[in-house]
């Protein structure tokens, strides 16, 4: 078990180290989030709707789009110089490879999620709840669930001719539960409702994340094997 966890961490650390050398994915996603918020500001007439009122939904849409951008790169990078072949001959089970990718992507996207919330708080005066833990739980579950599904599908799109343009078609229909319950509970928590009211949303998000992770662990080997 500990050996397995070490393998997962080795894969994740490899990806994180690649990222730390260039910061290119984080820089792109971070800039995307800030600029998307700027565009949102100009896309809305404050006489009709204040951005704060629909902040939760906007936050989730921003996270999904930024994440999509980052995920599309997960396996693109490995395609260069035959890095994928190297990974596949490594003495690591396929599911550990997948979980390592999920871990590193979750850490990266987690940073972007925090930035998104901070940007919305700064730009649109969204009041953050005094007890941040429930909100953190919702965001963390959403991030991991999204990444679990997205990593699996980006493995598929990296092996296909259409590449990243295919990813939203595959991913968006399945993200409906995530966006529905993620933004509903985020809206409730930002509006200061007691966390107990978001219990159902949290349960569904947990189920979503577990289903996505299980599907990824079981099915990942079929999309990288040749």
């Amino acid at each position: 078990m500990r050996g397995y966890l070490r393998q997962v961490w080795t894969i994740a650390w490899k990806d994180l180290r690649v990222e730390l050398r260039t910061w290119e994915r984080l820089a792109a996603m971070g800039a995307f989030v800030v600029l998307a918020a700027v565009l949102f500001n100009y896309a809305m007439d404050r006489g009709i709707v204040h951005p704060r009122e629909i902040a939760a939904g906007l936050i989730w849409v921003t996270i999904v789009l930024a994440g999509l951008m980052g995920l599309a790169r997960t396996f693109e990078l490995e395609k260069e110089d035959g890095a994928m072949e190297g990974l596949l001959v490594a003495p690591v089970p396929r599911d550990a490879l997948y979980l390592g990718k999920v871990l590193s992507n979750s850490i990266l996207l987690g940073g972007v999620v925090l930035l998104t919330v901070a940007v919305f708080a700064l730009f649109f005066q969204v009041a953050l709840p005094s007890n941040p833990l429930p909100l953190m739980a919702v965001l963390a579950l959403g991030t991991v669930g999204f990444v679990a599904l997205g990593t699996l599908f980006s493995g598929i799109t990296a092996g296909s001719r259409m590449g990243g343009s295919l990813l939203p078609v595959l991913l968006f229909p399945l993200l409906v539960p995530l966006v529905t319950f993620g933004s509903a509970s985020t809206a409730h928590l930002l509006a200061g409702f007691p966390p107990g009211e978001s219990a159902y949303s949290l349960r569904v998000l947990t189920a979503f994340t577990l289903v996505a992770l299980t599907a990824g662990v079981v099915l990942f080997r079929f999309i990288v094997e040749d």
């Binding site: 001719r161 289903v211 079929f222």
Partner: protein, 263 residues
């Protein structure tokens, strides 16, 4: 029948395996055509029921008759998706090519019937509730299902290596099916939060017995028509695979070229 099989065996110098697959294909044709015949007969009956026999629903009027293709269409679409997911899962597990062909055949049918649901739903809603589109949970779910099927086909045809495309498609089919219950929960829950125009329910205990009879006839008819075409499509896919194998064996230049492309 005996004669045909004999001729085939001599002609292709078939192995026993080839011969048995030929038997299967004959069974496929027989079942496909006979199910289709019963399905078409039932279809004629249910059209007669819909247009000449069943009473008109009082509050919605004639347009409610769309219900008799809408609901069975939705049922067939979900049945097809179940077949896709099941066959895909066993295909990944056992690696049997024919299961992938069955999944492909079901996915094609699913695409046809989700499209029927998506076209007939708005045509009905416009007159019954005054709007082309409502976020009615099952209609929304069907829309998402349509896009999952679309992804299935896009992925399938987007790889250079055909086996890879099949595996990708199978993964999409399985993950889509796993998510269907969660999506269903979301669309139901979303609706319960947001008040909508009151939808007169046509299903339920107050359904007129003649209406129930018509719905069940239509369900049977569409299911049989789908199963028949599904079986025939499956048989065609099997034949295509065999044609490919034989022409590769004989060094057919056409398929050699294809082989280079799809390698």
């Amino acid at each position: 029948m005996e004669k045909r099989r004999g001729r085939f065996q001599v002609k292709a110098e078939a192995t026993r395996r080839e011969a048995s697959s030929h038997m299967t294909l004959r069974a496929v044709r027989w079942w496909g055509l006979s199910l289709g015949a019963v399905g078409v007969a039932l279809t004629i009956v249910f059209h007669w029921q819909v247009f000449f026999w069943v009473p008109t629903e009082a509050s919605m009027g004639i347009v409610q008759r769309i219900f008799y293709i809408h609901l069975p269409g939705a049922w067939v679409a979900f049945l097809a998706f179940g077949i896709v997911a099941l066959c895909s899962a066993v295909y990944l597990w056992l690696g049997e090519e024919k299961l992938d062909h069955a999944a492909l055949a079901a996915a094609e049918g699913g695409m046809v019937f989700t499209t029927i649901v998506l076209v007939s739903g708005p045509l009905w809603a416009r007159l019954a509730w005054g709007t082309w589109w409502t976020w009615e949970p099952r209609l929304t779910l069907t829309l998402l299902l349509w896009f999952i099927y679309l992804g299935y086909f896009l992925v399938r045809n987007s790889t250079q290596n055909r086996d890879r495309g099949r595996k990708f498609a199978a993964v999409v089919g399985i993950v889509g099916a796993l998510n269907i219950p969660l999506i269903h929960m979301s669309v139901l829950w979303f609706r319960s939060l947001h008040p909508q125009p009151v939808v007169a329910r046509t299903d339920g205990p107050q359904l007129h017995p003649d209406m129930a009879t018509t719905v069940f006839t239509a369900l049977g008819a569409w299911t049989l028509v789908f199963l028949s075409l599904f079986i025939l499509r499956y048989g065609t896919a099997r034949l295509e695979a065999r044609a490919e194998r034989t022409s590769v064996d004989m060094g057919d230049p056409l398929s050699a070229e294809q082989g280079a492309v799809t390698s």
